[in-house]
């Protein structure tokens, strides 16, 4: 078993008929992901990429048995699409869309409360289970099936770390991007809980960066659990100037809060091994696994 995604995952694409949806659904199917249909309001009843298109998520879910959805809907309607999927009780929703208004994400978070949906993103590259399927937009080729779980705030660094882990003759159980925005669905700590419970995951790599409190939440969580799985973290932005937004909306430090030093200190205190540089992540997790024996 992997996390989030397995061979029984049946994927629905919201916004499939647009350019991004068409392109990435094609790539996902080439990878072996079981895509069962799409949703584009007003285009219900048509067929696209040889898949049925529906007007509404609830109908699509009922007709196709979809149990996961990927959202490519543009920012003005992305929140409505996510809320529709949540109301249709879709178990897993991955949102790739960038630049969703922050208050829309606040509303989406509100809609998630008490429901059964796991939301990944927005502004996420998605989920990859090597050899099984991808629910996202990442390039593939350097991944290989294995035991390392990756939880990341950065798509570009995930690709980098996947390649390093494969080069270290390890592989990945599942990779997940929580998204680059300040307000998003599933957080690093919740992902880590799932990875620690996953029988296929032997070790976990966290890719964090300046801004927010997710790494601190992870540190607090780890302090309270017992696990034999080694956890390695890379925190980037050590040398970033404070109070400047560095690419990601979530990546800025305010008044010394959310800086890299504080995150590294908290994680180290909780027993997480810190990769000293971005090029050493594969080697660091390999060593950590070897030392555990």
């Amino acid at each position: 078993m992997s996390v989030f995604l397995d061979r029984d995952t049946r994927v629905l694409c919201q916004g499939m008929t647009g350019w991004a949806g068409t392109h990435h659904v094609t790539r996902m199917m080439e990878y072996g992901t079981h895509v069962v249909g799409g949703v584009t309001p007003g285009k219900g009843g048509r067929s696209h990429l040889n898949l049925p298109v529906y007007d509404r998520v609830a109908d699509a879910r009922r007709e196709t048995g979809a149990n996961a959805s990927i959202v490519f809907v543009p920012p003005p309607h992305a929140a409505a699409a996510m809320i529709e999927a949540i109301e249709a009780e879709m178990p897993l929703v991955v949102t790739v869309t960038e630049r969703v208004p922050t208050l829309d994400m606040v509303r989406v978070r509100d809609a998630l409360k008490g429901g059964r949906t796991i939301l990944v993103g927005a502004n996420s590259q998605g989920i990859l289970v090597p050899g099984v399927g991808k629910l996202g937009v990442m390039a593939t080729g350097s991944e290989r099936p294995g035991g390392i779980g990756i939880i990341s705030r950065s798509a570009s660094l995930t690709s980098e770390v996947v390649a390093q882990i494969s080069a270290a003759k390890l592989g990945q159980s599942t990779t997940v991007g929580v998204g680059g925005d300040a307000i998003h669905g599933i957080r690093m700590r919740e992902c880590l809980e799932l990875f620690l419970d996953d029988a296929d995951t032997e070790g976990v790599v966290l890719i964090g960066e300046i801004g927010g409190t997710e790494e601190e939440e992870v540190a607090e969580f780890i302090s309270g659990v017992r696990t034999s799985k080694p956890i390695v973290a890379l925190i980037v932005g050590r040398e970033a100037p404070p109070e400047r937004r560095m690419g990601h909306a979530g990546a800025l430090t305010l008044g010394g809060k959310g800086d890299a030093a504080g995150k590294i200190k908290a994680l180290e205190a909780a027993g997480v091994r810190i990769a000293s540089s971005a090029h050493l992540v594969g080697e660091t997790i390999r060593q950590a696994l070897a030392e555990r024996g």
């Binding site: 003005p76 996202g136 990442m138 390039a139 660094l157 980037v236 090029h279």
Partner: protein
């Protein structure tokens, strides 16, 4: 998007925020005229820039009467104001806000923001306000109260009433504060704000709550549904280089070193920055190419680096992804190098999607690069080459 104090005050007035009488001036004569229309003797002349810490930098002056207001405006307008928040280059004062000076019997602090950990609209307040509130709160000298407001769409009158009581406001002031918070919550949601901060919120001698200073930030990602608010953007306040970068789907931050840096992805960019510093180099900038950038946008990005006279070497760290393969970036680099007269060492590290194709694109462009197998080697090489050029 940051907006000016005078814009925020104007935006929030219809939602029940009381502010001192006044107006904004772009010439000292106008400032004098506005001051002449105000009641009372005391006049505040306040520099309008997108940064706090104005008071300590002399950007806020209290004067007596119109002539003095005109003189203060004359001294402020056109001046470069350097505060703790502007950075060493400072910001040019192009407008002043001229207001009646208000005597505060008491000052409070009130803010609405989105708490990223809970994902909820959050009200923050303290019974004391003023310029040094952050330090006072950090040291524990002032208690900061918080109230979560969910998605901000429903009023929570009982919780707000308790919150206001905790700020030691009672009687008529209590009722005023509750109404004010209600209005601000509505404004926050309707205007897609990211921050509304009132500091100080004054209790006047007449017993009313009045905002003496307001800081407001709007959500850039929501401007598509607020054409009127988008017009509030002050392009003079945005660095020209920054503005060009934004137009070309790039995230750019100017730094003061000599190694121009490009990465595709914010995380990879931050990692590159850290590695250059670890290799004892000094980055000239941070640049992240967004996945939506096309090769011509990327060429503009390289041009920003080439136009920076401090740049002595360029480091390009690319991990081709599903949305943006390496060759798109190679093409951008090829175009930029054909157009420039400058010759700088180009250290590249290409991995991931279409890395080989990108190398052949660069060859076809006749673009000579130093190709490194991994990013640490590339960072170290760029640092060595920048040092050599010095």
């Amino acid at each position: 998007m940051k907006i000016h104090e005078f814009q925020a005050k104007k935006l929030l007035a219809p939602y029940g925020l009381r502010v001192p009488d006044g107006g904004v001036a772009i010439t000292s004569r106008e400032a004098g005229e506005i001051a002449g229309r105000l009641d009372g003797r005391g006049v505040m002349v306040k520099a309008q820039i997108h940064a706090g810490g104005r008071k300590h930098a002399g950007g806020i002056q209290r004067v007596d009467g119109p002539e003095a207001a005109e003189a203060a405006a004359n001294q402020l307008l056109g001046r470069v104001l350097t505060t703790a928040q502007t950075g060493p280059e400072g910001l040019t004062v192009r407008r002043v806000l001229v207001e009646s000076a208000i005597t505060a019997v008491r000052e409070l602090h009130l803010a609405l923001l989105i708490d990223s950990s809970s994902g909820e609209l959050t009200l923050i307040g303290s019974a004391k306000g003023g310029a040094d509130i952050e330090e006072q709160a950090a040291s524990g000298a002032v208690r900061v109260n918080q109230l979560r407001l969910g998605a901000g769409r429903e009023a929570r009158p009982d919780a707000v009433a308790q919150f206001v009581a905790d700020l030691a406001l009672d009687g008529a002031l209590h009722a005023q504060a509750c109404a004010l918070i209600d209005g601000l919550q509505q404004a926050f949601v309707e205007l897609d704000a990211s921050l509304i901060e009132i500091n100080p919120l004054a209790v006047t001698e007449a017993g009313t709550l009045m905002a003496l200073d307001v800081k407001m930030v709007l959500d850039d990602n929501a401007l598509f549904r607020h054409g009127d608010l988008a017009a509030l953007r002050d392009e003079d306040e945005t660095d020209l280089v920054d503005l060009q970068a934004q137009r070309h789907q790039l995230n750019y931050v100017q730094l003061d070193g000599d190694i121009g840096m490009v990465a595709n992805g914010a995380g990879l960019g931050l990692a590159t920055l850290d590695m250059v510093v670890a290799a004892k180099g000094r980055p000239a900038n941070f640049m992240d190419i967004r996945t939506t950038a096309k090769s011509l946008d990327i060429a503009h990005g390289f041009r920003l680096l080439l136009d920076n006279p401090s740049t002595r070497a360029i480091l390009i760290n690319v991990h081709g992804g599903g949305m943006q393969p390496c060759d798109t970036i190679a093409e951008g680099l090829g175009i930029a190098m054909r157009r420039t007269g400058r010759s700088l060492p180009l250290v590249v590290r290409l991995a991931g999607n279409n890395a080989d194709f990108a190398r052949s694109r660069l060859r076809n462009f006749g673009c000579a690069v130093i190709d490194c197998p991994d990013m640490w080697t590339a960072a170290a090489k760029a640092v060595a080459l920048a040092g050599k050029g010095a």
